[in-house]
């Protein structure tokens, strides 16, 4: 079996901006002069209120949105357009409904010209790791929302990206499925350790998964927090003092002052 293990690469964003013109004609700065260094293999969560620019920034990292000014580089090389080196798990379903699960899982490898035997072995390896070994001949319509996300995650990992980008991938899933998929993702990340940028609304999810949390507001990065909680993390880890401190700060950023005040009053 050809392993999907690849050398992770760091990301560097240097004064990156992106503006949109609204239908009314006025300009909106979705991403405003953002500069970040993300070392290789780091698991970063991007968090912020709706419309803060985090998904736009992720799309720019993926090469799907142009950069108006500044530069994004990966491993020292400026990025220009999408690349299989930067795999993306979308918020919406991106699994092709007209292809069986296995054909979806091999798609990236086939696009890169990997031979049939290798790509099948690789795809089966990752489908096994996400618990879908028995479903490889199924059509996506036969799978639940959580299973489709597993296919999307397996497909991206099978393509051996140096950087993995995830745009609120588990946002539409129920609580239990979300926890299961978080674990699946962390297990896969532990195997090949690509650099991860994970966009989420969920503070707990960010705390359970990341090494670092970047908070965005109004297109800018307004906080940069290192999370040094020991791994593996479990739901109880969220009750540790460091997690609670991060959570209060993050909730304040998200505009939930009342929740923080209530907790402080109880203490």
């Amino acid at each position: 079996m050809a392993s999907g293990v690849s050398t992770a690469a760091g990301l560097r964003l240097d004064h990156v901006s992106r503006t949109f013109r609204r239908s009314g004609g006025d300009l909106v700065r979705a991403v405003d002069d953002v500069s970040i260094d993300i070392p290789a293999q780091q698991f970063v969560c991007l968090i912020g209120p709706s419309g803060c620019g985090k998904s736009t920034l992720l799309q720019m990292l993926a090469g799907l949105q142009p950069i108006n000014s500044g530069e994004i580089s990966m491993g020292g090389q400026p990025i220009a357009g999408p690349s299989p080196e930067r795999g993306l798990v979308f918020q919406r379903d991106s699994v092709f409904p007209w292809m069986r699960v296995i054909d979806n899982a091999v798609y990236g490898l086939a696009s890169r010209g990997v031979d049939k035997q290798t790509r099948l072995a690789t795809a089966r390896h990752y489908l096994g790791l996400v618990g879908l070994a028995q479903w490889e001949r199924s059509w996506p319509r036969e799978l639940s929302g959580g299973m489709l996300k597993r296919v999307a995650v397996a497909t991206v990992f099978a393509n051996a990206p140096k950087v993995l980008l995830l745009d609120e991938p588990f946002g539409a899933l129920d609580y239990v499925t979300r926890l299961q998929l978080q674990r699946v993702l962390l297990n896969l990340w532990g195997e090949s350790r690509p650099t991860v940028v994970f966009v989420t609304h969920d503070v707990d999810e960010a705390l359970l998964m990341s090494d670092r949390i970047l908070v965005m507001k109004g297109g800018r990065v307004v906080d940069d927090r290192q999370v040094s909680l020991a791994r593996p993390r479990v739901v109880e880890s969220l009750a540790l003092a460091e997690a609670v401190a991060h959570k209060e700060a993050l909730l304040l950023h998200l505009g939930l002052q009342d929740l923080v005040d209530e907790r402080l009053a109880r203490v």
Binding site: P84, F90, S94, P97, Y107, S111, P140, N159
Partner: protein
């Protein structure tokens, strides 16, 4: 028969009841002579006319029609319909999908296709007769024009309706433009495009027959035109019945093939 199998059938079994009802009504009208049989012959007479003229018919030869009876005429008609459909699929799907993705192609072609779509297609038939004579080419070009217009519009609309996430996903996985066009746009739009092809096919039979009526070396329309001059209502009805049966069978077969190719689609819940 299981509900699942029923949903996968290319036709509604209840539709058969409608056809049988129509046949019974026809029989009743002629049996009770509500309409004189000179205008509406009995089913038995029409079926006999089919049997007498299907494979070889001295009677039809008297009208300077081909020696092989209705079957030879039918083959000519079917060949034209299928040939035109294949050409229109290649043209309509290719250009329709491209126009959905490339703005300049859409801007250039949309007004042309819209204009073609609003002109009653039969109005153009005399031009094809003048340009191509009564050759097969005149009928095929007319059908290609009609089929392509429909398939182009369906393909363009289907590509526009396709979730752009699929293209973005393919791009981030390393797929090139041609692979995206084939794996995402072509495969993802097939259900809607197939709907357009079936509509084009349904109209093509009638259009082919009428264009043969206007002037053709062979075909079912040519047979009807010749028999109309002799006011032979039973054989005209036999010809129409054979053509209608083949058209229905063809549509059922095409629907079956299309249903198999797009079996990945979620099953539609029927109330």
């Amino acid at each position: 028969m299981s509900r699942r199998l029923l949903l996968r059938l290319p036709f509604d079994p209840l539709g058969l009841t409608g056809l049988i009802g129509l046949a019974v009504l026809w029989w009743a009208i002629t049996f009770f002579q509500w309409v004189p049989t000179v205008f509406l012959p009995t089913p038995e007479v029409v079926v006999r006319a089919i049997g007498d003229n299907l494979t070889a018919s001295r009677y039809l030869e008297n009208f300077h029609l081909s020696k092989g009876g209705l079957l030879t005429a039918l083959i000519y008609t079917v060949q034209n319909v299928v040939l035109a459909l294949v050409l229109a699929c290649a043209l309509g799907i290719g250009v329709g999908l491209t126009s959905a993705r490339v703005g300049i192609v859409r801007s250039l072609l949309d007004p042309v296709v819209m204009t073609l779509g609003t002109i009653p297609i039969l109005v153009t038939a005399p031009f094809f007769l003048i340009w191509f004579g009564t050759d097969r080419l005149a009928q095929v070009v007319l059908l290609v024009l009609y089929d392509t217009t429909l398939i182009y519009l369906f393909a363009q609309r289907a590509a526009g309706n396709l979730d752009p996430t699929y293209e973005a996903a393919a791009r981030t996985m390393g797929a090139g433009r041609r692979k995206i066009l084939f794996d995402v746009y072509l495969k993802g739009t097939l259900p809607e495009v197939f709907g357009g092809i079936r509509i084009a096919l349904a109209g093509a039979w009638g259009l082919e027959a009428i264009s043969e009526l206007l002037g053709a070396p062979d075909g079912m329309g040519k047979v009807i035109s010749a028999l109309a001059s002799a006011t032979d209502v039973p054989t005209i009805m036999a010809t129409v019945l054979v053509l209608a049966t083949v058209a229905v069978a063809f549509d059922a077969a095409v629907a079956g093939v299309f249903g198999y190719i797009t079996r990945w689609q979620p099953e539609v819940a029927h109330g």
